[in-house]
Amino acid sequence: MFTVSELTGLLRASIEEQFSDIWLEGELSNLRAPGSGHVYCTLKDKASQIRAVLFRSSAVRLRFALQEGLQVIVRGRLTVYEPRGEYQIVLDTVEPKGVGALQLAVEQLKTRLAAEGVFDQERKRPLPVFPRTVGVVTSLTGAAIRDILAVLRRRWPTLHILIAPVQVQGEAAGRQIAEALTDLNDWGSVDVIIVGRGGGSLEDLWSFNEEIVVRAIAASRVPVVSAVGHETDVTLADFVADLRAPTPSAAAEAVVPVLAEVVERLRELTVRAGQVMLRHCAFERQRLEGGIGGLTDVRFRLQESAQRTDDLVDRLRELIQRLLTGGHTRVHEAQRDLSGLNPILTIKQGLATVPQFSKRLEGQMGVRLAQHRHRTHAMLAQLNTLSPLAILGRGYSILHTVPAGQIVRHASDVEVGQELDAQLSRGRLSCTVTRACDNSTV
């Protein structure tokens, strides 16, 4: 017969001897972490469960946090907690099942920080386009620094580079990186920081998954470019950084443009601006010249107007000339008609006719006078043949008294002394009566 204590002591010795180092797989539950720092929990599977305790000294070595329901593979020894007579496994190491502990730790940290919003896209700041000073947080001995320097130098030969040298692996690495980030921030003139190292195992890259580093990057006022490992390696630093570069060289390329290109761009912009301005001026000048050309068309208009005026004057002159010529023609026609109707013809006719009339007058008058003269002479001749004085030719004479002229027929008709006139055949005689014989017969 044992006492409880004896039996319990025996069981404990037996269990501890038999199960001094065992591996056990199970699901964590009933996690309790009281103030002592020891962690108490239960490991269970579908049918059974076992109490487990992780003493503080072991607990602090855990890289990941213990969680309810986590499938774990543990190593430890069985013992019996005598006061309660319960057996339990005292855990030495706890590993998550399926993934490595580190990986889980990273996942857990990532989840936690993500919940805090540390990785939020909105927190990310744009990189300066033209940094003057680039801070580099990396190891001076790695290939990373050489790559970074070479790329930066090539791209931007006048760049100021400030290196904050750190260990990039090992216990101290995380803290150094965090401090370096703070230092570069505090330095003041740094425009962008590259933080990184060359590639390696998860373990090698561990410091870039450390919370202190992630938080330092998140807290950096200067934009941070992460360049950890190679393209496939992703750390929390990469998640929190403002830009994740796949390699240090890529980071260097990401933080500075190529100076020659910038200078070229400047030159190009200047040239383009100048060209645009010159084109603008040329365009305006052409426009202006067009305007000036359009303006000087006024001269053509003036010339046209002058020509029009001249044409009108020519027409005026033609018209007045035609009018005057027409007047002349009319006057000349009238004059020609007039000269055809000159009364001179009538006058000439008259001048010809009148002398004919006067000639006829004269002729008739001459004839008439000649007739009369002829008649008169004929009468005179006839008279002469009948002249009583014809007898005188035969010797008779006729005595006439003087002055009475009485023919003396009788001697008694006269007295002696009386003068008588004797009419002879030719001539006359004056006689004086000397005697008178009154003798009637001879």
Partner: protein, 82 residues
């Protein structure tokens, strides 16, 4: 005398010639009308001469005559028309 009409004188003269031809007048009568006839005929001649003279004077009026000749020569057409 010119007042004696030529035709009357001529008629008287013819009458005188008739009287004389009848030859039955006494000499003195004959002589008388013969003388009258002579006188008349002279008067007639005188009238005629005066008439001729007058005609001559009228016709020979210098201006008139000259022109009459100039124009009557029938060359009016050769004259300048104006």
């Amino acid at each position: 005398m010119a007042a004696v009409k030529f035709e009357q004188a001529m008629a008287r003269l013819e009458a005188i010639v008739g009287e004389l031809e009848k030859n039955d007048l006494p000499l003195d009568e004959s002589l008388k009308i013969f003388e009258e006839g002579i006188r008349l005929s002279k008067n007639c001649l005188k009238i005629l001469e005066e008439a001729e003279h007058k005609v001559e004077v009228l016709v020979q009026d210098k201006n008139g005559k000259k022109r009459i000749h100039a124009y009557s020569s029938g060359d009016a057409a050769d004259e300048p028309s104006s």
